[in-house]
């Protein structure tokens, strides 16, 4: 992502003077076109994947119940499964353009409606987890970078544990200690902010682990640079050197990882939500995938793609803020 960015800027608008698109307009337009293309590709890939996956839709809808030609005919008619694949694909895309995500086979409701109710809890959970990850990582990295050996060893070990232990296990351990034994936090209840603490920790700790390692290494490298020496020689305290100078350098690789975190957080939400009995996209997705509830799976794929596209756009902005070299380019 880092390397691709500067390269994207020059070509457009350089040819004919009359066709020159102002830079401030060109980037957003190109970005929008790319975003739509990515979304279309995601929708199509998901559609194709589910089409190729084993199992006939009618079979799935019939399930283990009665299987007679009349029942099959009713199902085919109800869901319009008698039309050719190409027609169904195009009508699917058409409906998508109108914002119609279709109807869930399993839950018998509009997919848009189902997801609308689940986005909020998942957003709250992932944002809280991201906050936990970032705050912990920055705090720990700043506190331990370039310091004595023992605190660093302990923190490194803790980070390694957070990264390598499955989220499910972290969640169970947190529940046993802080909910079942100490009784500080409830297991579930999304309306209650207290119920968000343990799931956010379970989801955020692995992020904190990775981010912490990356940040500390970056900080340590930056602190050895000549500019750090200069800053120190100007009489700045070590903390000020870290906060004002080194951290900015260390942040770049960390921001690059943010795209990856999005995946970790969304994927981890599936496990975390089921474990803590929280509502959210993860649980709906799991139910939909096991039940081969195509319309719901497709909608989740498109939604995830949209989130990725947005995040990567925001990241580009963030680079500009952190790295002045990109601003002047």
């Amino acid at each position: 992502m880092t390397a691709a960015l500067p390269a994207r800027r020059p070509p457009a608008g350089r040819g004919l003077a009359g066709l020159r698109v102002p830079a401030w307009l060109g980037t957003p337009v190109r970005r929008l076109v790319t975003a739509v293309a990515v979304l279309w590709a995601a929708a199509t890939t998901a559609y194709a994947a589910l089409l190729l996956a084993p199992g006939d839709t009618v079979d799935i809808l019939v399930g283990d119940g009665a299987d007679t030609p009349e029942i099959r005919a009713q199902i085919v008619a109800e869901w319009g499964l008698d039309r050719p694949e190409a027609v169904r694909y195009l009508s699917y895309l058409g409906r998508l353009l109108h914002g119609d995500l279709g109807r869930s086979y399993q839950l018998q409701r509009d997919v848009g409606e189902i997801l609308a109710g689940q986005v909020g809890p998942t957003v709250r959970l992932t944002l809280a987890a991201a906050a936990v990850g970032v705050v912990l990582a920055v705090a720990v990295a700043v506190a331990t970078a370039g310091r004595s050996v023992w605190p660093r060893r302990i923190v490194s070990a803790a980070e390694l544990v957070a990264v390598s232990v499955p989220q499910f296990v972290i969640g169970i351990v947190l529940l046993f200690v802080f909910s079942f034994s100490l009784g500080w936090f409830p297991v579930s209840g999304a309306a209650d902010p207290q119920a968000l603490v343990l799931p956010a920790l379970a989801l955020g700790l692995p992020v904190a682990g990775v981010l912490g390692q990356v940040l500390r290494e970056g900080l340590e490298r930056a602190l050895e640079q000549p500019f750090a020496v200069t800053a120190r020689s100007r009489g700045l305290s070590e903390r000020a050197v870290v906060a004002r100078h080194a951290l900015r350098h260390a942040l770049l690789p960390a921001v690059t990882l943010a795209g990856w975190f999005t995946g970790v957080l969304l994927g981890g939400a599936v496990i975390t939500e089921a474990l803590f009995g929280r509502p959210g996209l993860g649980r709906v997705t799991m139910q939909a995938v096991t039940g081969k509830d195509m319309p719901v799976v497709m909608a989740v794929v498109i939604l995830s793609a949209a989130v990725y596209v947005t995040i990567s756009a925001l990241l580009d902005l963030a680079y500009r803020l952190i790295d002045p070299r990109l601003r002047s380019a």
């Binding site: 799935i60 079942f180 297991v187 579930s188 509502p279 995938v289 096991t290």
Partner: protein, 536 residues
Amino acid sequence: MKAIRGALPFILVAALAACGSQTPAAQTGGTALTWAVETEPITFNPHQWGQNKARLLVFNQFDALVARGEDGSFVPWLARSWKVSDDGRTYTLELRDDVTFQDGTKFDAAAVKANFDKLREPGYNPTVAAIQLHAFDKAEVVSPTTLKITLKEPDGLFLDFLSSPLAGQVSPKSLKEAEDLKAGGPDVVGTGPFVLDRYVRGQEVHYTRNPRYNWPPQGSAHQGPAYLSEVTYRFLPQAAVRIGALTSGQVQVVEGVPATDIQTVKSDPSLSFQSALNSGTAFSYYFNTSHPPFDDRRVRQAFREAVDLDTVLASVYQGTAKRAWSVVADTSPFYDPSLEKTYGGDAAKANALLDAAGWTQRDAEGYRTKDGKRLTVRSVAAAPYVRDRRDILAQAIQARLKQTAGIDFQVRIVDQGTAQKAYEDDAFEVFENSRGDSDAGAALNLILPKGGAINRTHFADAALDTWLAGATASSDTAERKALYAKVQHKVVADEAIVFPIYVPSDQIAASRNVQGLGFDPVSGTPRGVYDVRIAA
């Protein structure tokens, strides 16, 4: 600066402690109950019901026309009485006249007719229209309290249908106006003792007491409104989390206690524990007889003889599973106990049978072979149906089969679509299944007759089909029992097309002060909470 750094962990812990000062749900009032359940229902509309694990919710909100007593007999509920004509084709229901739906609509014969008509509407619930109501011809309103139902042919399972969640009576107003009728929820109302007023998908469903309720089924422990003012069911799919929530007092009742936790719960003096065997069919392995090696009865018998099932069940379920001897569950009135201890667990016999069937060679890994082909049998199971540690059970059976008889038992747990495809392509030898139908006959009709919806043994036998059809048409329990005994003898003893393994059960663990919990006498699943109260 050192001081700040050293203080950081303490600040974090203090911050954590500050956010958490919750009061356990138990303290929020004497008559509110929180119950953690394993399964979130796909629908709250009783007409669309299909998950046994969700059965406990249905009768909080809805009442059926007929109920079942502790002894399994049919007793009055919304129908005060009923008469069946001599030819078994006309059912005349006399309905209660003091019942209102939760939306204020009067319950009467026209409402019941509207429910039947809806169930038969194309596309509403094709399965019920084709199976449970296959014999249904018409319903006629004779008077506001009298409904006459005419069947095309006698149906011994019709009263069972009238007592099932599928016959839960939905307000005609909801049937017409509900926005998401098939999904159910707060706007699809019944006549039951509780009103569903809040549903948070993925988290919980909340009911409040219906203050006007005064029409429980005959034989209920009390009359009038329910004791509890409100009840919340939390959806916690992880067993360890449910148990932890119970022991820490965050919920007062849980269902679905895994074998590994039963001892912990039993030894806790503040908790009560109860379990009940489910109705329907036992969890069984059905052998696919359409191709080798299970087209040979000796191989099917050898499979059963090679497994010392008592030992396997004891190690997998720590003595909490009840071994099954017939395809029909022990709790059914049709269960044939004469099959007990008539087969299984004889390694020498297993090997003799396989030798006789020509599987005499062994390959390098110790598996039996015949004409250079290994004795391999495959089981394909859809993940959503794999519960009760059935995957671990399969591994234990796999190990026994290899060790005692050289049978290569391969187990694959896959998604629903893949399983469906394997069944269609006939690419499996073992089909695992249990069904929780309240009348075992309904389950057998799907599994055993030629062309049955899930007849995956591909076994066909004219006599068997005649017995099944005869038992379905009859409503004479003694006659049905005799016919189903023949059926069980045929498929378990004579033909060995099925390997019954264990009788599934349901468990309830609760705080000791919660009283009146129990199981539905027919299905063996947890009951609703109408009779439940919290002692001071």
